[in-house]
């Protein structure tokens, strides 16, 4: 990408971050927390997008990385009183480690086989979280709010229950995930990942060990998902095994598809839209997951490129 194109891309993405920052002063309280949640979950979707959108590998097991981050952060806080920074680091480390081990085993398969292996691993993780429920408290889960010390920053004490702290911490995480994804996208590594997606054998014969690149992609993807999981635990105070369930592996696929696979801002758009769709639907019926089903079928039949994917194809070809 030329210098001019890169600046344009960077400006657009920084503008989105700036808009999100400013939005907190305009949003009413209910939406304030929602947007904070959306930003954290969008980080999860961004992680997923690196594997699916850039590298072309579809996983149905990403909930295990999110949950690894969640438990990796939440358990030390709950049982050992670890502080937020340490917990975040522990959560990310757990996700990265799990992704690396999983990748070393599962990347020997591809396509449908990889999908099923990822589903199986994630399901084993979920079942383990239920099996060891003396520690994890299983489905019921546990709350961190009595256990998490406020963040001491520059003399000020920032409690995680405060909306402003939640929002800006979530924004910080989202911004970091977005800029990391952008950096990857324009880097030589990003180019290789996309090439692997398009034609793996040709890429190998042009000097690239595709296994290593796929593993890197998986580790980054899992790491971002774990960061989202750890942040979710720290900011919204709840840790439970529902976040390791299959539905939670399907969500990032749904959000990414809706927003536009392989686009950078697509995950944010998809997460936000689906969050509100589900929110509205759950107010109307207990069968609100019907919305999930319908959206998936509609996307596959008529909008496989998703919202931003269609926008990019029709009007803005320079959008990464």
């Amino acid at each position: 990408m030329s210098g001019r194109a890169t600046s344009r891309v960077l400006i657009v993405h920084l503008a989105v971050i700036a808009l999100l920052f400013l939005a907190q002063f305009a949003l009413p309280a209910y939406h304030h927390t929602n947007v904070a949640r959306i930003m954290v979950l969008a980080g999860y979707a961004l992680g997923y997008n690196i594997l699916l959108g850039y590298t072309g590998l579809m996983s149905l097991g990403h909930a295990m990385f999110f949950a690894a981050g969640m438990y990796g952060a939440g358990l030390p806080v709950y049982y050992l009183g670890l502080g937020a920074a340490g917990a975040l680091a522990a959560g990310i480390a757990a996700g990265v480690l799990l992704a690396a081990v999983f990748g070393l085993i599962a990347l020997r398969t591809s396509g449908v086989s990889f999908l099923i292996v990822s589903l199986m691993f994630a399901q084993a993780f979920y079942l383990a979280s239920l099996y060891f429920n003396e520690i994890t408290l299983g489905d019921q889960g546990f709350i961190l709010s009595g256990h998490l010390a406020p963040l001491e920053f520059g003399g000020a004490s920032l409690g995680f229950h405060e909306p402003a702290v939640k929002y800006n911490a979530a924004l910080l995480l989202f911004a970091a995930s977005l800029l990391l994804s952008l950096g990857l996208r324009v880097s030589p590594i990003g180019r290789v990942l996309i090439a692997i997606r398009e034609n793996e054998e040709r890429t190998r014969l042009f000097g690239y060990d595709s296994f290593r690149y796929k593993l890197l992609s998986l580790v980054l993807s899992g790491g971002l998902a774990a960061a989202a999981g750890a942040s979710y635990a720290l900011l919204f105070s709840y840790v439970g095994s529902t976040f390791a369930s299959i539905l939670f592996s399907i969500y990032p696929l749904l959000w990414t598809l809706l927003g536009g696979i392989g686009t950078l801002l697509g995950p944010l758009v998809g997460t936000g839209l689906m969050f509100y769709l589900v929110d509205v639907a759950s107010g109307m019926t207990s069968a609100y997951l019907l919305v999930v089903g319908v959206v998936l079928v509609v996307l596959v039949l008529w909008f496989p490129q998703g919202i931003l994917g269609t926008v990019r194809a029709k009007w803005l070809p320079w959008l990464p």
Binding site: S2, G3, G183, P188, R191, A195, E198, N199, D209
Partner: protein
């Protein structure tokens, strides 16, 4: 002849075999290619030509035998490592990145030589890559197509794109698998010019069915049939060779 024998071969295969079940697709092949040669490999369909070069570039693992490059054994070397040694292969059925722009297609091999170490994998001066990309596209005559999507090109131009990609990979041994297939007359002539230019810097191994091209381009010809080499020599010698005529006519 004597002069050629004195120079160490760039590429050698020793008793190279590839079996699929009971079938020997390549059977005890000893190939020697001198540096700077243009060598053509010809033979009827199913002779094992693509399988042979597949083992040279690393796509396929041999059942037995050895591959030597610059005197070193590379039989177990992975395909991406062979590229770094300068062995570059273009596919019989054009293999490019159809959904990406021509620029991005050529950028992938172009950047490889610039990626040394951790830092250059994270970020590369895009100008360095761009220079290499444009040089390769210019060489094959696709200078104006950089921004176009690869699948928007005509088939002949897609083949040229793959050749540009191969050039950007800085080949020392360039293996072309039926490069003229699907090309129009004018494009074939253009390709021959290009191959002659390339052979000033690299050794070229060409699998071809198009005999006029073989006669015009090749310095030496290796003829395969049913997995074995049945004849080797200059194009003129091969044209007259009785076994070669039998192999082709007997089909």
């Amino acid at each position: 002849m004597a002069a050629m024998a004195a120079v160490a071969p760039l590429l050698e295969t020793e008793a190279l075999c590839k079996r699929f079940g009971g079938l020997a697709a390549v059977n005890e092949v000893d190939l020697h290619v001198a540096p700077g040669e243009i060598r053509a490999i010809i033979g009827p369909n199913g002779a094992g030509k693509t399988t042979l070069v597949g083992m040279i570039c690393g796509r396929l693992a041999p059942t037995s035998g050895r591959v030597l490059y610059r005197g070193r054994e590379i039989t177990a070397m992975r395909p991406w490592e062979r590229l770094m040694q300068g062995i570059v292969y273009t596919f019989q059925v054009t293999s490019i990145f159809k959904g990406l722009s021509c620029y991005e297609n050529v950028a992938l091999p172009a950047q490889r030589g610039l990626m040394r170490g951790f830092a250059t994998r994270l970020a590369l001066g895009e100008q360095l890559v761009a220079d290499r990309v444009h040089a390769a596209l210019d060489a094959v005559g696709l200078a104006g197509a950089a921004a176009q999507r690869a699948d928007a090109l005509a088939y002949g131009h897609q083949r040229l794109l793959e050749l540009a990609m191969a050039l950007a990979a800085e080949p020392q041994l360039l293996i072309l698998d039926e490069p003229t297939q699907g090309l129009a007359e004018g494009e074939i002539a253009q390709l021959c010019e290009l191959v002659r230019a390339i052979s000033r810097r690299a050794t070229v191994l060409v699998i071809e069915h198009n005999m006029p091209v073989v006669l015009a381009l090749a310095e030496r010809v290796t003829v395969m049939d049913s997995g074995r080499i049945i004849a080797e020599g200059t194009p003129a010698e091969i044209e007259r060779h009785p076994d070669v005529q039998k192999a082709y006519l007997g089909r």
